[in-house]
């Protein structure tokens, strides 16, 4: 059966992609941010996952307000970068893990989640940037992807607890998938930021640091918070953080944190990264 080897969390700020495109990686604004990801990239190199399930939100690039799916799952052969207004970025298209996507959709529906099914869909920085942060910018991606789109823009957005529950179904799907592929799950978005209204520019480094601790040690607390609490604590767009709960819900209650990184501000955002493994796996690896 397929194997979940790790849960990754990261911001997906579009300026990160723009900074890479413009060669700003080593400028004072960005160097510390990118350097903090090096341990995460090394972890990926060492563990060689075959499949990345990426939970993110579209930012008015693929979906318009005419049709807003609360949860959507991609099951395409390929996902191309969408034109966000600046032309599509020069990134290799992402290869889909079509069989698993359909298996996951089946499992979701059997477990009373009813997603939109997307056989042809483009992806924006919400998926691109996390992939680049962990895998760099290869000519061809060494990993297949399964995109999960969550609506965190048009209210009503889903409950944080619902994201957490979806993670449990994702775990079931991986554990019941007949394959020897190695999976990682990327929860993306956040951390604190607000783009709209007079509170624009709001960041909350203390809350962000606490979130990076709680996502590992106290996820039930994060899943129990209201949407309003997310907005209040992390800003209107910081509510994206609830998407990390899909990743966390798929893991064991007991995890070890391999790497963690926090940097503020990346553009207008408190940016963070985490790499976690289930403690049971970490222990057996140590014993072997």
């Amino acid at each position: 059966m397929a194997k979940l080897i790790g849960g990754l969390g990261t911001s997906h700020v579009p300026s990160i992609g723009a900074a890479l495109d413009k060669g700003l990686r080593d400028t004072p604004d960005w160097k510390a941010f990118f350097d903090g990801y090096i341990p995460g990239q090394e972890w990926v190199k060492r563990h060689k996952p075959d499949v990345a399930v990426v939970i993110f939100n579209d930012h008015g690039n693929t979906f318009f307000l005419d049709k807003v799916p609360t949860f959507a799952v991609g099951c395409a052969e390929e996902y191309r970068p969408v034109d966000e207004g600046w032309g599509p970025r020069a990134i290799a298209p992402f290869k889909g893990e079509v069989d698993f996507s359909w298996h996951f959709i089946d499992t979701l529906v059997e477990n009373r989640f009813d997603p939109m099914i997307c056989q042809e869909i483009e992806v924006d920085h919400g998926l691109q940037v996390p992939m680049e942060l962990f895998w760099g910018k290869p000519d061809a991606w060494p990993v297949k992807v399964v995109p999960i789109f969550v609506n965190v823009i048009q209210y009503p957005i889903p409950l944080p607890s619902r994201c957490y529950e979806m993670g449990r179904v994702l775990r079931k799907a991986i554990e019941s998938y007949d394959s020897d592929e190695r999976f990682v799950i990327l929860g993306t978005g956040g951390l604190s930021h607000q783009l709209q209204g007079a509170r624009a520019g709001f960041v909350n480094p203390e809350a962000d640091q606490a979130f990076l601790n709680d996502i590992a040690d106290n996820p039930d607390k994060l899943a129990g918070m209201s949407r309003e609490q997310y907005v209040e604590m992390f800003g209107s767009e910081g509510a994206e953080l609830m998407m990390w709960l899909v990743m966390r819900g798929a893991m064991d209650p007991d995890v070890v944190v391999r790497h963690k990184h926090y940097f503020v501000p990346a553009s207008m955002t408190g940016a963070g990264m985490i790499v976690m493994e289930n403690r049971a796996d970490a222990a057996s690896a140590a014993a072997a």
Binding site: N61, W86, G197
Partner: protein
């Protein structure tokens, strides 16, 4: 025994009483119905005074197109007399750039080639695109235009070109108001009526389905039913059979403060309010649209039916205002792909701060 109310029906440019046949028949069982005649007048104010002189005492004013501008002028002149107001397929703004030239061409055409030539040019854009060849609809309209003269047309065009800015008076309209528009009205679009309904304190909006600008004759039954319901007559067909389809709550951003201070959540109301702006901005994901935006921004915005308020906000890059009008940053950010500005500058603008202060105080930059 209560007195029957008096209703005045106010026709538009080149239109006469025949436009109101269906509505007159529907309303006559319940009210004294008078119909304005503006064929000899050349100003909106004179038309309003003549309509006010059609009866004594309280009136219900129902106007179509230019007639609705007359109705608004009646409210301005004699607010105490107008008990209810209905504005159909109309507008509130004064003369637009270039309007005078276009209108003058038609005036000249009528004098040079006659009313038939005018009818053939002027009428088709007034009706639903799919009915421009519908003789049953067009023939009576054409007959009506032929009953008018080039001189009448010239007088009424003068009245229209010199029309007052009705926008300024909308907030003062105190009586219950029904704003009505054909969904496919190409001359005075739905967006314009949404804005009017939002600006008039006690207004409701009804959208007439499958209708262009001439809704009175394109969908006479829908219009009559909406009038009967609004005026409380007859009480039949309530909420059925295609009547009163687009009823919407008036927008009022100020009424509900953000639950979290200064943090606008993109809820149903904002999404509806900002739909046009966001759709326009979403379009900028397409290179051809970006080019169109660069070439002629105003024309590009018009394609999406932006109100003049929305256009101003976009064209002056007033981010704060765009968000207030329902723009969502993820969509409107694409404007910055065409006309570059940093997102932190957009943030600073909304926060009402200098950019450097914003970077330092909000984002903690050294």
């Amino acid at each position: 025994m209560s007195k029957r109310p008096t209703i005045v029906l106010l026709p538009g440019l080149l239109c006469d009483a025949s436009m109101w046949d269906a509505q007159r028949k529907a309303l006559e069982p319940y009210a004294d119905v008078r119909i304005g005649d503006f064929s000899q007048l050349d100003s909106i104010e004179a038309m309003a005074r003549s309509a006010l002189a059609l009866a004594d005492g309280p009136l219900v004013a129902i106007g179509h197109s230019m007639g609705a501008r007359v109705a608004m002028e009646m409210v301005r002149l004699a607010p105490e007399r107008i008990t209810k107001l209905v504005l159909i397929d109309t507008g509130i703004d004064p003369r637009r750039d270039g309007e005078q030239e276009k209108r003058r061409e038609l005036v000249d055409l009528a004098f040079a080639e006659g009313m038939e030539a005018l009818a053939d040019t002027w009428l088709p854009p007034m009706v639903h695109l799919e009915r421009v060849a519908d003789e049953a609809l067009l023939a009576p309209l054409k007959d009506m235009v032929l009953r008018a003269s080039p001189e009448q047309h010239q007088r009424q065009i003068k009245a229209l070109l010199d029309r007052p800015n009705a926008r300024l008076g909308l907030a003062q309209i105190a009586c219950p108001t029904l704003v009505m528009v054909g969904r496919q009205d190409r001359w005075s679009p739905l967006a314009q009526h949404e804005e009017m309904a939002a600006l008039i304190p006690e207004a409701e909006l009804v959208v007439i389905e499958d209708s262009g600008h001439m809704s009175l004759v394109e969908q006479p039954e829908q219009v009559s039913q909406a009038l009967l319901r609004f005026l409380g007559f007859g009480n039949k067909n309530d909420d059925t059979h295609g009547v009163a389809t687009g009823r919407e709550e008036p927008m009022d951003e100020e009424a509900a403060p953000d639950r979290i201070p200064d943090t606008p959540l993109f809820d149903r109301k904002r999404s509806l309010r900002g739909y046009r702006i966001n759709k326009m901005a979403m379009g900028l994901g397409d290179p051809a649209n970006r080019e169109a935006f660069k070439q002629d921004e105003s024309a590009y915005l018009d394609r999406f039916g932006l109100t003049s308020e929305e256009k101003d906000a976009v064209m002056t890059r007033n981010w704060q205002e765009m968000v207030r009008l329902g723009g969502n940053l993820f969509f409107i950010l694409k404007i910055s792909a065409v006309d570059p500005v940093r997102i932190t500058e957009i943030g600073a603008h909304q926060a009402g701060m200098e950019h450097a202060d914003f970077l330092r105080d909000r984002l903690g930059k050294k």
